[in-house]
């Protein structure tokens, strides 16, 4: 799965966000705020990644249990899907 077109990832200081562009702003006004780990997952998804690859990315970057990483990735992917951000 992959991030659909129409989003620009931005970072200011320690803050990470995604700004919808083009007609995307009709569906998503404002910005999508991301935590540091969210920005990491988003970056992976820009290039295309499976849920397993996202879990591995979290495990490589953070001291977190695999079960927790899996829960977080599922929740993140579900939220992005709900917002219509992901494409296969």
């Amino acid at each position: 799965m992959k991030i659909a077109s129409g989003f620009v990832r931005r970072s200011v200081g320690d803050s990470h966000m995604v700004v919808p562009v083009g007609t995307r702003t009709r569906d998503i006004p404002g910005v999508i705020a991301l935590s540091e780990s969210g920005a990491l997952l988003w970056e992976k998804l820009e290039q295309g990644a499976t849920e397993d690859e996202l879990v591995e990315a979290l495990l490589a970057e953070y001291e977190v249990e695999r079960e927790q990483a899996e829960v977080d990735v599922k929740a993140f992917v579900a939220e992005l899907s709900d917002k219509g951000v992901l494409e296969e």
Binding site: V8, M17, T25, V31, A33, V64, F76
Partner: protein
């Protein structure tokens, strides 16, 4: 581990502002695209005639603004407000607007509403701005004629607002209170309620800047209610911007900038004493120059021990517009602070909080 932090936009924005201020990142910008306007409001501090504009400089092209936005984005800008003059007098507005948005910058718009037609409303419906603020100057054509020097001004604005409503484009209304339109205040406020949109009003008129001319002294209202509000506004001085007391009421310090129609960058619309030239030296270099210059602006000596200080809304920008220097006091502003302070004491003596 939460990948998407839950917080309101206001709180998120203030977090960003705090980080940006600390690091000196220019996250918020304003591009004043033109000093030209189809209205001629008597209190406007920016508006120029075309002849006067040509004497003072030149408009930047669409490509120049877009390139400036690109440079600004790379330096950290996340939001830009496009203002004028009147932004919709520019035939290349659409190009500027769309291309800056596509850089991943949130774009807000300020307009007088009178040039909004079905085409512009469709544009803003399909590509919504982060916010759209329409400034109203009255609730009748006669008020617009008196204050803005135009015929059918109110009718034209209402037509523009109807286009926005028909296209479901969100907007807010603002209203600047003056001696020539204050009797329309309630009507405009009611209009906002009818449209079910946000409403803000202000009464602060600023002397003209950058070659413009206006007449704030005869237009300014000093309502008792103005002072009543002021007594509740006791800023938490010192907590906002450690390091430079001159800017302790300023939200722009080290995180915002204003680039005027002629290409000068300063911290806000009212300042020009710290100006830098981003179109000549590049955005980042101009920004670094600007934050260095403003860091050397000091609070006027008279203000340091002033007992009215917590009731004073003066900032370097207001001081500069009023007195010509960001480090000089203005007797008018001092009197306002004293008035607010005395009202506060009276309020407290009657048992107020």
């Amino acid at each position: 581990m939460t990948s998407m932090p839950e917080m309101t936009w206001r709180k998120y924005r203030e977090n960003l502002r705090a980080q940006a201020r600390e690091a000196g990142i220019p996250i918020f910008g304003t591009f004043e695209l033109t000093p030209l306007c189809n209205f001629n409001c008597k209190m406007c501090y920016v508006h120029l005639s075309k002849d006067r504009m040509n004497e003072l400089g030149r408009l930047r092209t669409a490509d120049e603004w877009i390139d400036m936005a690109l440079q600004a984005r790379d330096a950290g800008t996340i939001a830009i407000t496009l203002t004028g003059g009147e932004i919709f007098t520019r035939p290349d507005f659409e190009k500027i607007y769309l291309e800056i948005r596509d850089l991943g910058i949130m774009v807000s718009l300020i307009s007088n509403g009178s040039l909004i037609d079905e085409r512009i409303a469709r544009l803003l419906r399909d590509y919504p701005p982060a916010s759209l603020r329409v400034t109203m100057y009255g609730a009748s054509n006669s008020t617009y004629a008196r204050l803005c020097g135009v015929e059918d001004g109110f009718s034209r604005v209402m037509k523009g607002l109807k286009c926005l409503v028909d296209a479901s484009v969100p907007f807010t209304l603002s209203f600047t209170r003056t001696t020539l339109n204050d009797s329309d205040f309630e009507s405009v406020k009611n209009l906002a309620e009818e449209f079910d949109v946000g409403f803000i009003s202000s009464y602060e008129l600023v002397p003209a800047v950058r070659g413009a001319s206006n007449d704030p002294n005869t237009l300014r209202i000093e309502l008792p209610s103005t002072a009543d509000k002021a007594r509740y506004r006791v800023p938490d001085s010192g907590s906002l911007l450690p390091g430079n007391p001159a800017f302790d009421t300023c939200k722009s310090y080290r995180c915002s900038y204003w680039i005027d129609w002629n290409g000068d960058m300063d911290m806000c619309a009212f300042m020009s004493s710290s100006k830098c030239r981003p179109f000549e030296v590049g955005f980042e270099s101009a920004w670094n120059d600007l934050i260095y210059k403003v860091s050397n602006i000091h609070l006027p000596e008279e203000c340091r021990q002033c007992e009215w200080r917590d009731f004073c809304y003066a900032c370097p920008g207001i001081r500069e517009a009023e007195s010509g220097s960001p480090e000089c006091i203005s007797e008018r502003i001092c009197n306002r602070a004293r008035y607010a302070y005395n009202n506060f004491l009276m309020f407290r003596s009657k048992g107020g909080a």
